[in-house]
């Protein structure tokens, strides 16, 4: 999640060509990756590997930052001091994840400003999930439980991804994600044990977040053209559909424990495959959200652009002050 190939044209893009590279260097590089060695910033790497990583890591970083907004929407309205503190710590963590990831991507030679400008220009993508609105407090529970839950499922394998700085960032991120999921599930448990209104709120949140959560794993494997190269380069370690199945299998019993119903009439235990069969995802909706047509897509991008533009004078002042300070030290 946060890293599934989200391209401009409905998720389809031609695999990047590596023909113009020195074949010996490419062979040595691929042998190292195949041996599960980490590639470090100073090492030689194919241009396509570099570009794919910048796209993937920056997309992940953008997702963390844009992901602060739907939950941030409830910070001022968290219903107890404890919940307010936990949610603030959680959203702050997401900002920290964004920071590690921008730093990891910068080691590949693209500056944070360039990446942020690509996001604001609509050239870079972020996870589709953050284009849905948070309507009630239960949405904060559902996001922690489902969205961070899906994040863990996707990010745990990335701790062994081939690019060293990315893998190390993922190790730090994963440590915090399990706290995120637990706080979300704890909110859901409290609501599930609460008043009739709270239970209804929890069920409604699950109804709205279930399908978008499944979409987080990206298009079906058959429509995931970059996968082969991603696997060979150890940038991707599990297929979208495998991760999605794993997520469904882990989550259905959690929903049952909460006394909630998964909004999928086709959901059924399949004893033969020892997993759940589930209904067809609305891929038309998924691609629409990828294109930037999600319910809160415009609000999210506007919030990010406004923060960036309205904060420009602050960043300029910090730079100007630093320059003055250095000049005084040199004098």
């Amino acid at each position: 999640m946060y890293t599934t190939e989200l391209k401009e044209q409905g998720g389809k893009v031609a695999p990047v060509s590596i023909v113009s590279e020195d074949p010996e260097l490419v062979a040595a590089f691929e042998a190292r990756v195949a041996a599960d060695e980490f590639i470090e910033p100073k090492d030689w790497m194919p241009e396509a590997y570099r570009r794919t990583l910048v796209r993937q890591i920056s997309q992940h970083a953008h997702s963390e930052i844009v992901g602060m907004l739907p939950e941030g929407n409830w910070l001022t309205r968290a219903p107890s001091l404890r919940r307010k503190a936990i949610l603030l710590a959680k959203v702050q963590d997401e900002g920290g994840h964004g920071l590690y990831l921008y730093c990891a991507a910068e080691t590949l030679g693209t500056s944070r400003e360039e990446m942020i400008e690509a996001l604001h220009a609509g050239k870079a993508k972020y996870s589709t999930i953050f284009n849905y609105p948070t309507l009630t407090w239960a949405d904060i529970g559902a996001i922690g439980w489902l969205v961070d839950g899906a994040a863990i499922m996707n990010q745990v394998p990335l701790q062994r991804t081939s690019y060293g700085p990315y893998a190390r960032a993922m190790i730090r991120v994963c440590k915090e994600e399990s706290f995120h999921q637990r706080q979300g599930y704890e909110i859901m448990m409290t609501l599930g044990a609460g008043t009739a209104e709270q239970k209804a709120m929890a069920q409604d949140a699950l109804n709205r977040w279930w399908w978008p959560s499944l979409m987080m794993f990206g298009p079906p494997d058959a429509d995931s053209p970059n996968s082969a190269q991603g696997f060979r380069w150890r940038i991707k370690r599990d297929s979208n559909d495998d991760l999605r199945r794993k997520f469904v299998d882990a989550t259905v019993p959690q929903a049952e424990f909460l006394g909630l119903t998964i909004p999928d009439p086709d959901l059924r235990w399949n004893a033969e495959k020892e997993g759940y069969d589930f209904g067809e995802i609305d891929w038309e909706e998924f691609y629409a959200v990828v294109r930037g047509e999600g319910p809160t897509a415009r609000e999210r991008m506007k919030a990010r652009r406004d923060a960036w533009e309205q904060g420009a004078w602050v960043r300029e002042a910090a730079d100007a002050h630093e320059a003055k300070r250095r000049a005084r030290l040199a004098a």
């Binding site: 930052i65 404890r82 900002g95 002042a317």
Partner: protein, 282 residues
């Protein structure tokens, strides 16, 4: 027919008894002591709560990621302080109210925060001005409260003082950066500070409540903090190449519940869930 006289209540008699024993000054104090401590803890807790609440409004919208993280950090510390003070206030009051009850089920007139903290965020320079003035005051207050004769207050202050030292440092660094940055940042910093000068005096005022607690060694005489505050503000503004203020006529009232118009809106947002679903546990 007997003339109609005000009825003497049992409480009046009890007060009169005490007055004879301890002198009229101390008598009121002994009776009021619990109420005074409760009120004082609300002042401490509400300052932190309301400013923490304001800072959460920035989350996800700050000028840079690093600033977002710093503001969230300060907000977290303040909300933590608020929980400690308000839970203690509830305990002292002894009516079964806890920190959440106090935070989410009091109306404007019962809030005891100073006016400065309830002011809207404004632009980043205003937020920094507010933080700088508040944290500078709070640091000197908590440094002294670590010696409070009420060990519960002393403990909270000891924990919080480390956090607040960082808040004050971070805010003054930004005052210097913005003051001595660009033309625009300087103008905004001047405006930001200008917006808040009228709320400074209130932070150093004390009343009967605080004076009685100060005599008991529980509270701190806020007037004694002023000199250090003025010196710090002077130093930071000099580093920032900013003009020193002439303090305008002070606005006050927060400590007795007479707030500005902004607080009601802040509370409407903050308290909406527990108020809408009064039977629910979250």
């Amino acid at each position: 027919m007997a003339p109609s006289l005000p009825t003497i209540q049992p409480g009046d008699v009890a007060n009169a008894e005490k007055a004879r024993a301890g002198g009229s000054f101390d008598a009121g104090e002994a009776v009021e002591h619990h109420g005074a401590l409760f009120d004082y803890l609300l002042r401490l807790g509400d300052d932190s709560l309301i400013l923490g609440q304001r800072l959460t409004e920035w989350c996800g919208h700050a000028p840079a990621l690093e600033i977002d993280l710093s503001l969230a950090n300060i907000g977290l510390d303040l909300i933590g302080q608020a929980s400690l003070f308000l839970n203690l206030a509830g305990e002292v009051e002894g009516k079964g109210r806890d920190g959440d009850r106090l935070a989410f089920h009091r109306d404007v007139l019962a809030f005891r925060n100073c006016l400065l903290v309830e002011q809207p965020n404004g632009d980043f320079a205003q937020t920094i001005a507010r933080q700088f003035l508040f944290s500078t005051m709070q640091l000197s207050l908590f440094e002294r409260l670590t010696g409070s004769s009420d060990h519960r207050i002393a403990e909270i202050a000891a924990k919080a003082v480390k956090e607040v030292r960082y808040h004050a440092e971070l805010a003054s660094d930004w005052v210097v950066r913005l003051g001595d940055g660009t033309e625009e940042s300087r103008r905004r910093m001047v405006d930001g500070l200008d917006w808040f000068w009228r709320f400074v005096d209130e932070m150093f005022q004390s009343d009967e409540i605080e004076q009685s607690l100060t005599r008991a060694g529980i509270a701190v005489d806020r007037a004694e903090l002023r000199q250090g505050f003025d010196a710090t503000v002077g130093n930071v503004l000099r580093d920032a190449t900013l003009p020193l203020p002439e303090y305008p006529r002070a606005l006050t009232g927060g400590r007795i519940g007479h707030h500005g118009e902004h607080l009601g809106h802040l509370l409407a947002t903050m308290q909406y869930l527990p108020r809408t679903y009064p039977d629910a546990v979250w």
